[in-house]
């Protein structure tokens, strides 16, 4: 009573404190976003769990888990997954830390060149890398093996179809994540911490082992765990390198359970839950590691970190770093390119073997290519745009409002990081295959999967930009009389533009070559680029496949060039992130 009386008296719209957020239109926006994310993440996860615990008749059972852990084939897949993931983590961490140290903390020549290692994951996926390494090191036709025989070497030099081969290829393409994290930690470390140790009388070596290393250890371990999870989730590499040698891992077994007769969905679900658990535990540990990092990142900006003077060793270390670029970039991409313009794959390069026939065939005669290109481009352009807009809204809601439930939103948007693509696809497939909402068989199931997988990356891009935008920039809009919607449209979105554009390019590249979710979700006529390449692989068409792979690499390089150009454009009118420009 008193409230409405007062309202009449002052002629103002009244709101109760408790109900205020329910009357706020932003609250409804948030509710819709949360429900949407639940449909994409929570519901499929629940379906997955349900499937793994029910038998054919619908009763509760543990038989799928019994089969997953009791059957030698399946147990072997789990063990192989763990071996490959651990091996990759160890190899990538050692190499990545070494490279980061060499680039940030030594006077090695060519540091800028070696720095390019950080771009490697953008150029191609491990899947393409694995295909290239088949061309280089398959026991029969691998170029390096052919050279070995030609030089008179006995037997086979390298067998890429092996556990070691998979660990090698995955390390090559996942090492940059360790490199980036450790180099970042080394760069942001306060140099005075080291100077204090030096002036306390410790030498450079003791300072490195006693001060520097402990300070960047969280970043190193965090990077190792991230690589562990990425390698466990990897589908493309084991599909290319493991299948011919009958080495099964979790991801390939899950796809197999869905694709081969007899279809045993419960087993697939149990294996999916297992992989999901491995990934979630890995990421949880990783977050804990990085949570401790804070003290290393407090730093004076101006001072340059001390560099080791390597002396004569500098060229040896440079050669070691260069070897990485050779193995990850130069050799494999050259192999793909060569394979795409030749009629036959031999080490004996004769002039009559050069041809563009592979390109003509794959683009015009092979029926899948054209529609796969259209589908992939549609998903990349529209998917990346819609996802970035959604991410901007999520960041805004979770960072800039005090609505109840914004923490749930923040958490939900980060969960897909722990979802391997294959597992997410398995869940989405069975969640949205039944009426009334049937997404499977339409392009929207791929759209939903891509969006869900990359929401965490998009949100990180928008949130990272948003936290640099001083909240007072939005508050001043509010106190100017603008409502939340006007503020978001006129102030927040324009200021977020650089971050959103960077995120968009990242997502475009990822969407245009997604494989591990697509492999379960595509249907005839709804193939995408990576599926087309995979299809060619199954048919043994390596030269045609190389042509498509080369196209994919070219697309990514073009986008990277665009990103560089755009960021250059953006820098010219001055810093655009904050209002604080003293």
């Amino acid at each position: 009573m008193a409230v409405s009386e007062a309202a009449g008296q002052y002629g103002i719209v009244m709101r109760r404190v408790r109900a205020a957020s329910l009357l706020d239109p932003l609250f409804y926006v948030q509710v819709v976003v949360i429900l949407f994310l639940c449909a994409l993440i929570v519901y499929p996860a629940a379906i997955l769990l349900g499937m793994s615990l029910r038998d054919e008749a619908g009763g509760l059972t543990l038989k799928w888990f019994a089969e997953a852990y009791g059957n030698a084939r399946n147990l072997g897949a789990i063990l192989n997954t763990l071996v490959i993931a651990s091996g990759t983590a160890v190899a990538a961490t050692i190499a990545g830390t070494f490279l980061a140290w060499a680039v940030v903390r030594t006077d090695m020549p060519g540091r800028r060149l070696v720095e390019m290692a950080s771009v490697v994951p953008f150029i191609s996926t491990p899947f393409i890398g694995a295909l290239a390494w088949v061309l280089l090191a398959s026991p029969g036709a691998g170029l390096l093996n052919q050279l070995w025989s030609y030089l008179g070497g006995p037997g086979v030099l390298l067998d890429i179809y092996s556990l070691g081969g998979m660990i090698f290829v995955e390390s090559l393409y996942e090492m940059p994540f360790v490199f980036l994290m450790v180099a970042g930690a080394l760069r942001s470390m306060d140099p005075t911490l080291e100077e204090a140790s030096l002036s306390a009388g410790a030498g450079l070596w003791r300072t490195t082992t006693r001060v520097t290393l402990p300070l960047v250890l969280p970043a190193i371990l965090g990077g190792a765990l991230l690589v562990f999870v990425l390698a466990a989730e990897q589908f493309g590499v084991p599909a290319v390198l493991g299948t011919p040698a009958r080495i099964r891992v979790l991801t390939t077994s899950i796809v197999e359970s869905q694709a081969s007769y007899p279809i045993r969905l419960g087993l697939g679900a149990a294996l999916s839950v297992t992989l999901l658990a491995i990934a979630l535990v890995g990421l949880w540990l990783q977050r804990r590691m990085l949570g401790r990092r804070s003290y290393t990142t407090i730093g004076g900006k101006g001072a340059q970190p001390r560099r080791f003077r390597l002396g004569r060793l500098r060229w040896a270390i440079f050669a070691a770093c260069l070897a990485y670029l050779m193995l990850a970039v130069a050799l494999p991409y050259a192999a793909i390119f060569l394979s795409s313009i030749r009629t036959i794959w031999t080490a004996d390069f004769r002039w009559d073997q050069w041809t563009l026939e592979n390109y003509r065939w794959v683009f015009f005669d092979y029926p899948i290519t054209q529609r796969a290109l259209v589908n992939s481009l549609f998903l990349a352009v529209v998917g990346a745009s819609v996802t970035m807009l959604l991410c901007a809204v999520i960041s805004f809601l979770s960072l800039r409002t005090r609505l109840p439930g914004r923490r749930a939103l923040d958490y939900l948007s980060m969960v897909p990081m722990g979802f391997p693509g294959v597992v997410l696809a398995f869940g989405l497939l069975h969640a949205w295959i039944h009426p009334p909402v049937v997404l499977y068989g339409t392009i929207w199931i791929l759209f939903a999967a891509y969006m869900t997988r990359y929401i965490p990356i998009g949100v990180r891009a928008t949130s990272a930009t948003l936290v640099q935008i001083h909240p007072e920039l939005e508050e001043s809009s509010l106190s100017s009389g603008a409502n939340w919607f006007q503020t978001f449209k006129n102030v927040t979105l324009p200021l977020l533009k650089p971050g959103m554009l960077a995120g968009w390019i990242l997502l475009f590249i990822a969407f245009s070559r997604e494989l591990s979710a697509s492999i379960l979700l595509y249907s005839p006529r709804l193939e995408v680029l990576s599926v087309a390449i995979y299809d060619l692989l199954l048919g043994g068409e390596f030269r045609a496949l190389s042509a498509l792979a080369f196209l994919q690499i070219g697309m990514a390089l073009a986008m990277l060039a665009l990103a560089k150009w755009v960021s250059g454009l953006d820098r010219t009118p001055g810093e655009r992130t904050g209002g604080r420009t003293p």
């Binding site: 709101r15 920039l473 509010l478 100017s480 009389g481 200021l495 810093e575 209002g579």
Partner: protein, 390 residues
Amino acid sequence: MTSLIVDRLTKRYGSVLAVDGISFSVERDEFISLLGPSGCGKTTTLRCIAGFERPDGGAILLNGEPVADAATGFFRPPNKRHFGMVFQSYAVWPHMTVKENVAYPLKVQGGVPRAEMEARVADKLRIVGLVGYEERFPTQLSGGQQQRVALARALVMEPRALLFDEPLSNLDAKLRERMRFELIEIQSKLGIPAVYVTHDQAEAMVMSRTVIVMEKGRISQSGRPEEVYARPKSRFVADFIGLSNFVEGTVAGPAGDGNWLVRTPLGELVCCSDEPLAPGRAAVLAIRPECIRLQIERPSGPNVVPVTLKQRYFLGPYSEYFVAAGEIPLRVQASDPVEVAPGGTLFAAIDPERCRVLAGEASPEAAQEMAVRATHAADLAFRTPSVGLA
């Protein structure tokens, strides 16, 4: 005529009481400052007035109408309050030109014809002295110019009140001083209440008709700057605004002329007090450094204490002397030089009218605690003589 009323305002963050039931009012053309150290609740109070924080208790009224009232649950969002606010970070939008920034409030509120909008924007830019900068982007402006854009933007909507959140603290010293006077001049022409938050006591005293000193979410003292400076009620206020020497003692009795005699380690001192003092009561005296005269010859009159000169620092307009009366350190500021080498003996004469018994520091426990803190403070003063009156 009273315009803005803050009535028993309370704001909690979890278990922390950021603002603890404070009340004050601002008249229609008054400029008041909320002054205090960081964490005292001054910014939270301002943000409650602006509408960025929802009060947990109390009310805020403008011209008799509430804009927020915890009792009824009424809360008017910031975009409906028409309060012009100037932020510490300036908060001018880097993606809009100066003109677009200033026109923004008129645009989003709508209903202003284009020609009038142009005229009002031009008028405000003239007031803040930014004619000719209309098409520039904020990144091409200096900090002072950006703050002028923010001011013009706050003025253009013809606000019902002006709120300032440490708007000058990012500017360099000379510019800060100039902007102080410009802000007062602009505000005095508008005839609307202005609330100014700062931790800079000099800024608060120069600019405001009323200073409100806050500590731990409460108002320690409020009043005209001269009054707060001359008659601090507590050790906190005496220390935060200007500098003070604190001397503990016990009230001996009346000393005539409305003054009181207090027994202290410096001897018996004649002091003044705002309230009658019971003999035997513990008392804390606050003596401003500039209220002590140092002389080589012993002067006649009350409150003369022999002291030893420890250090002397020349600061230009005045000199800073650190002296000791026995074990008790005293800080003195005087403009006429006293030519004595460190270690020499001087006489300190303390003006009884400026030797004040602090009203808020009476209880024996408080005195006890304060005695300890005073010793530390004095120690610190000896070690860090560069602390000026800034």
